[in-house]
C-alpha cells in the first residue's frame, strides 16, 4: 500500500510516528499551520512556527525518507484577535517563497464569529493575490454545519477563487454533499471520537463517490491516530473494494489535488 497523508500536525508528534507512517506506506506528509493548544502572544511566535514548518520539520521527516510539505496561515482559533491576525498575515508572503509551502491553510472558522469571517476573507484574498491553493478547516461538532455554510458563502463571494483549487476539510455526513455540490474538494478527517471513523468515512465515499475526496488523519496533540488513513484503507479492502480503488482514494486523489502546485513532487 502507498498513501499520501495530506493533513498531519507533525510538530505535535513524536519521531516514532514518522517511522510508523513510513512503514505503513506513507510517501509524503503535508502539514497545515495549526493552533498550538494555547494562544501565541505575538507575531514572533508565528515567525518561529513558520520556520519550524518550512525548515526544521522537513528535515525531521527526511530522516525517514518522507517528503514534508506545509501550508501557512493563522488558525481560526487565534483569528478572533484581529490585530495579531493581521500581523501574521503580513509575514506570510515571505514564507510563501519557501520550497515546501503548498498554499494557505488551514484557514476557516472555529466559533463562527464576525472577526473569524473577516480574517478568513483576508486569507482568501492573500491566496488569490499569490495564486495559492487553499486548505479550509471547518468548525468542530455543533458548529460545523453553520460554519461550513458560512465558509461556502465567503468562498463563493470571491470571483477569483477556483473551487477546484480549494479543499474543505473535516466534512461529515451533514456537510459533505454541500461541499462537493459546490465544486470544491472535500476532506474527511479520521478521529477516534470527534470526526469520522474509518467505517463512516467509507460510507461517505460510497455514497458521494470518490472523485474529489481525500482522507486524512489530522493527527495533532489531541486524541488522534497517525495511522488512521492506512487503517481506513484496510477497512475498504474488508468491504471488498479493489486495490485500485483504495489506491485512487489514498494516493491518487491527494496527488491530483496537491499536484496543482508544481512544488508537490514526490519520487
Amino acid at each position: 500500500m502507498r498513501y499520501i497523508e495530506p493533513h498531519a500536525h507533525m510538530v505535535s508528534r513524536i519521531t516514532d510516528d514518522y517511522e510508523a507512517m513510513r512503514m505503513a506506506g506513507c510517501v509524503a506528509i503535508c502539514e497545515p499551520a495549526f493552533w498550538a493548544g494555547f494562544d501565541r502572544s505575538s507575531v514572533d511566535g508565528f515567525y518561529d512556527y513558520f520556520c519550524q514548518l518550512t525548515d526544521y520539520e522537513p528535515k525531521r521527516a527526511a530522516k525517514f525518507g518522507l517528503p514534508h510539505f506545509s501550508w501557512l496561515c493563522i488558525n481560526p482559533k487565534e483569528s478572533e484577535d484581529m490585530g495579531l491576525a493581521r500581523d501574521v498575515l503580513g509575514i506570510i508572503p515571505e514564507f510563501l517563497k519557501r520550497g515546501n509551502v503548498l498554499g494557505i491553510g488551514e484557514i476557516g472558522l472555529n466559533k463562527n464569529t464576525r472577526n473569524e469571517i473577516a480574517i478568513l476573507e483576508e486569507h482568501i484574498d492573500l491566496a488569490a493575490r499569490h495564486d495559492q491553493l487553499i486548505l479550509v478547516h471547518t468548525p468542530h461538532l455543533e458548529d460545523k454545519f453553520k460554519g461550513t455554510n458560512l465558509i461556502l458563502d465567503v468562498l463563493r463571494a470571491d470571483s477569483r477563487i477556483n473551487p477546484g483549487r480549494v479543499i474543505i476539510d473535516h466534512v461529515e455526513e451533514h456537510t459533505v454533499d454541500m461541499v462537493l455540490d459546490a465544486g470544491f474538494w472535500a476532506g474527511i478527517t479520521l478521529y477516534p471520537e470527534s470526526k469520522a471513523t474509518p467505517a463512516r468515512a467509507i460510507d461517505m465515499v460510497e455514497r458521494a463517490g470518490m472523485k474529489n475526496l481525500w482522507l486524512n488523519c489530522a493527527c495533532d496533540w489531541g486524541r488522534s491516530e497517525p495511522l488512521a488513513v492506512p487503517r481506513t484503507a484496510i477497512e475498504m479492502g474488508r468491504r471488498g473494494h479493489s486495490k485500485e480503488a483504495v489506491d485512487a482514494l489514498v494516493y491518487g486523489n491527494p496527488m491530483r489535488f496537491l499536484s496543482q502546485n508544481p512544488r508537490f513532487q514526490i519520487s
Partner: protein
C-alpha cells in the same frame, strides 16, 4: 456488500456501541444533580435511530448542530461540546 456481509463486519461493533450508550444513560440516571442541554440533545436524537429514514447519521448530526445562519458577535471560548445549547428551551 449484502446485508449479511454488513452484519458480519459491523454487528458486534454496533452492539458494543449500543450497550455503551445504554450504560451511559443508566450512569446518568444514577448520578445526582440537574442534567444540562447535552443530555436533552441525546434524548432528542435517539428516536432518529429507529426511523425509516435512510440518512440517520446525517439526521443525528443535524439534531446536534447549530441551525442558525448569522455569525455571532464574539467567541466566548474556543471549544465545542458536541450539542447546541439553543436546541433546549
Amino acid at each position: 456488500m449484502t446485508r449479511d456481509q454488513v452484519l458480519d463486519l459491523y454487528f458486534m461493533d454496533a452492539r458494543c456501541k449500543l450497550i455503551e450508550l445504554a450504560a451511559f444513560l443508566d450512569r446518568v440516571d444514577r448520578s445526582e444533580g440537574e442534567a444540562d442541554f447535552r443530555l436533552a440533545a441525546i434524548r432528542k436524537a435517539l428516536p432518529l435511530l429507529s426511523s425509516a429514514h435512510a440518512e440517520r447519521a446525517k439526521s443525528v448530526l443535524m439534531a446536534l448542530s447549530d441551525p442558525t445562519v448569522v455569525p455571532i458577535s464574539a467567541a466566548t471560548g474556543k471549544g465545542a461540546c458536541g450539542a447546541w445549547p439553543g436546541a433546549t428551551p
